[in-house]
């Protein structure tokens, strides 16, 4: 399917790739898709807390991207644009589903059932997961899940997607001071939840 090699595409910036796609080069889109599909999926998993829904939403994001590709005017970074689409898609979904009315990742399925996070991972419990590392992962997922949506998205974009605060401000349509403030609140909330794991995390590192 690729007309041009991946290496050739890797050398191009996102903005160059979308410009190539705008001239009809499907391989350029494929390169962008390969680069962003996993981060966007992870972002949406963190945002909506459900992997199946996140996969559907990721599909929606790229479909929207395709449909609006001709409207990208190169006035912002491509990453800002795609994360904005992803964020809006997640927010639309949250609005439709009445503010995440699905079960939390860490809510137990029943009295005896495993936590949802264990079911959605799709893998059998590994030794690591059954140990403290697994507990740390669950505690972390629960703590992030409990953050308010505006703090959670800022934390995820900065911590896991490496997006600078200025760019996050563009994505969430807020001032940079507001973004940093949300980040501080998020970090403080997480610290309170996770401080007992700090020593353990140091050992793991």
């Amino acid at each position: 399917m690729l007309q041009k090699g991946t290496l050739y595409m890797v050398r191009k910036t996102d903005e160059e790739l979308i410009a190539m796609f705008q001239t009809g080069d499907a391989a350029a889109f494929e390169a962008l898709f390969d680069k962003y599909k996993a981060p966007i999926y992870v972002f949406l998993v963190r945002q909506c807390g459900n992997r199946e829904i996140a996969a559907d939403l990721t599909q929606d994001v790229f479909t929207k991207l395709l449909n609006r590709a001709d409207t990208f005017r190169h006035q912002s970074k491509f990453s800002t644009w795609i994360y904005t689409i992803a964020r809006n898609t997640a927010m639309d979904h949250a609005r439709k589903s009445k503010h995440r009315n699905h079960a939390s990742l860490d809510a137990a399925a029943g009295d005896d059932g495993p936590a949802l996070i264990e079911k959605v991972s799709g893998n059998a419990p590994t030794p690591e997961r059954s140990s403290g590392a697994g507990e740390l992962q669950k505690a972390l997922a629960r703590a992030i899940d409990q953050l308010p949506q505006d703090q959670r998205e800022v934390f995820i974009l900065r911590e896991y997607h490496g997006m600078p605060f200025a760019e996050i401000a563009d994505v969430v349509d807020a001032k940079i001071g507001t973004v940093k403030s949300r980040m501080r609140y998020a970090l403080e909330a997480l610290r309170l939840e996770l401080h007992q794991y700090e020593e353990y995390a140091k050992e793991l590192s």
């Binding site: 399917m1 050739y8 001239t23 494929e30 999926y41 599909q59 605060f165 970090l187 995390a201 793991l204």
Partner: protein, 434 residues
């Protein structure tokens, strides 16, 4: 510069996430080393980040995005298609919905000429028959078993004209009727005398024959030239129809197709020879010339239709098409003339400029004028860095420079070309030769 604890806290996030310039970061780190409270705040934050990095990263579902990529292929194709569709300044004619059979019959029957002819024919037949009947009933006694009654409904089904005929036509019919009646009466008398009891009235034969006459008339009635071609258009698929419409529009002869068309014509369209020629000629202008293969690079060039599609943005396409036609028949000097005229035209759009420039460069190269060719290639490569046939242009330009002995320039172009994996082998091969 020394920082206060307040300033340190303000910049702590930027420091932890490496968003500060090196000098500021160094100053803050110095402050942190001297201040226990700030040191603790920094350590807390970094400790939390250390915890946060242990988050589980969910893998993407298997086979994710296959349909997205196929959608992307279609979208990319539509981007190329849109460029082609914006080539003509005259907007493409709207797609006329295919009329139902009943609409076709209605539109055919209610044409003034057909309607008039039908009414006149019916009036003639009706007049003849009624006169015949009158002459039969008054002048002669029909033999027993003659199917007068059975024939009557058939005559009635031949509906009388709903609208009155114009006076001139009516008088013509009346005068024609008189002479015909006299002749028919005489013939009928002779036939009855000959036939005896097995007599079958003439009007019954005529009523049977009339259907054939009417259908013959339908078939014989020639459609206007435009209608014939339009009725043929109805049978084309929508894409072909659009293409022919846009071609019509471009040539200025395009009018929206009328719904009227004979059902028989639709079933077996008689497309005039010139209509067929028109279609083939319109298709000839679309593809990038495949005859041009001065180098192996050209032979292996990816689908070149898109290049011509890219060209399809200009406003005055006549010079472009003329240039293309000249190029196709190998008349490079005429092609260069037309493409240059096209480029001189102030209204041509950006998308077609690199294509026309590429044609000129190729023409010059083809005719051995590498000196001129490299000028056009240079223009193409510098002014249109996103031209989608850049790799081909790079290769051809490098070949020209190589012929001219501009080794360094050729090397530079080939080095750029080697970034494209499809062309890497060729570029390296030529680099070795250099």
């Amino acid at each position: 510069m020394s920082y206060s604890c307040e300033k340190f806290n303000e910049l702590l996030l930027d420091l932890a996430y490496d968003e500060l310039d090196a000098e500021t970061a160094l100053d803050l780190m110095r402050h942190k080393d001297d201040c226990g409270e700030c040191q603790r705040a920094y350590a807390d934050l970094m400790g939390l980040r250390n915890v946060a990095k242990h988050i589980e990263t969910p893998p993407l579902p298997a086979h994710f995005g296959v349909d997205i990529l196929s959608l992307a292929q279609k979208k990319a194709a539509s981007f190329r298609g849109e460029e082609a569709s914006t080539f003509h300044t005259v907007p493409p004619a709207p797609v006329v919905p295919t009329p139902s059979i009943w609409e076709k019959i209605q539109s055919f029957v209610f044409r003034p000429a057909i309607l008039g002819a039908g009414v006149a024919l019916t009036a003639v037949v009706f007049g003849v028959i009624s006169l015949q009947q009158k002459s039969h009933t008054t002048m002669l006694e029909a033999p027993a078993g003659v199917p007068f009654e059975g024939a009557q409904p058939a005559i009635e089904r031949e509906a009388p004209p709903s609208a009155p005929l114009p006076p001139s036509e009516e008088s013509q019919i009346q005068s024609a009727d008189k002479s015909e009646v006299q002749a028919e009466t005489a013939k009928t008398v002779q036939r009855i005398q000959k036939a005896g009891p097995g007599y079958k009235p003439l009007y019954e034969e005529k009523s049977v024959a009339k259907g054939a006459i009417a259908s013959e008339t339908d078939e014989a009635a020639p459609l206007p030239q435009s209608d014939v071609s339009k009725s043929a258009d109805v049978q084309k698929n929508p894409a072909d129809l659009l293409r022919s419409k846009s071609t019509d529009a471009a040539t200025g002869s395009g009018a929206p197709a009328r719904k009227s068309a004979s059902p028989k014509k639709l079933a077996e369209p008689k497309v005039p020879a010139n209509a067929k020629k028109k279609k083939s000629s319109s298709l000839e202008t679309i593809p990038f010339p495949s005859q041009e293969a001065p180098s192996s690079a050209d032979k292996e060039a990816p689908a070149e239709e898109s290049t011509a599609d890219d060209a399809a943005e200009g406003n005055d396409t006549s010079d472009f098409n003329a240039g293309l036609a000249a190029y196709n028949r190998g008349d490079c000097s005429t092609a260069v003339h037309h493409f240059s005229t096209y480029l001189d035209h102030p209204s041509q759009s950006e998308g077609s400029v690199p294509v026309a420039t590429h044609y000129i460069a190729r023409c010059e190269k083809r005719t051995g004028r590498c000196g001129k060719a490299v000028i056009h290639y240079e223009q193409l490569l510098t002014k249109h860095p996103r031209y989608n046939k850049r790799s081909e242009a790079l290769y051809e330009a490098a070949a020209c420079h190589s012929k001219l002995g501009h080794t360094e320039k050729a090397q530079t172009l080939l080095e750029e070309l080697s970034l494209d994996p499809q062309w890497r082998a060729k570029a390296q091969k030529m680099l070795k030769k250099l």
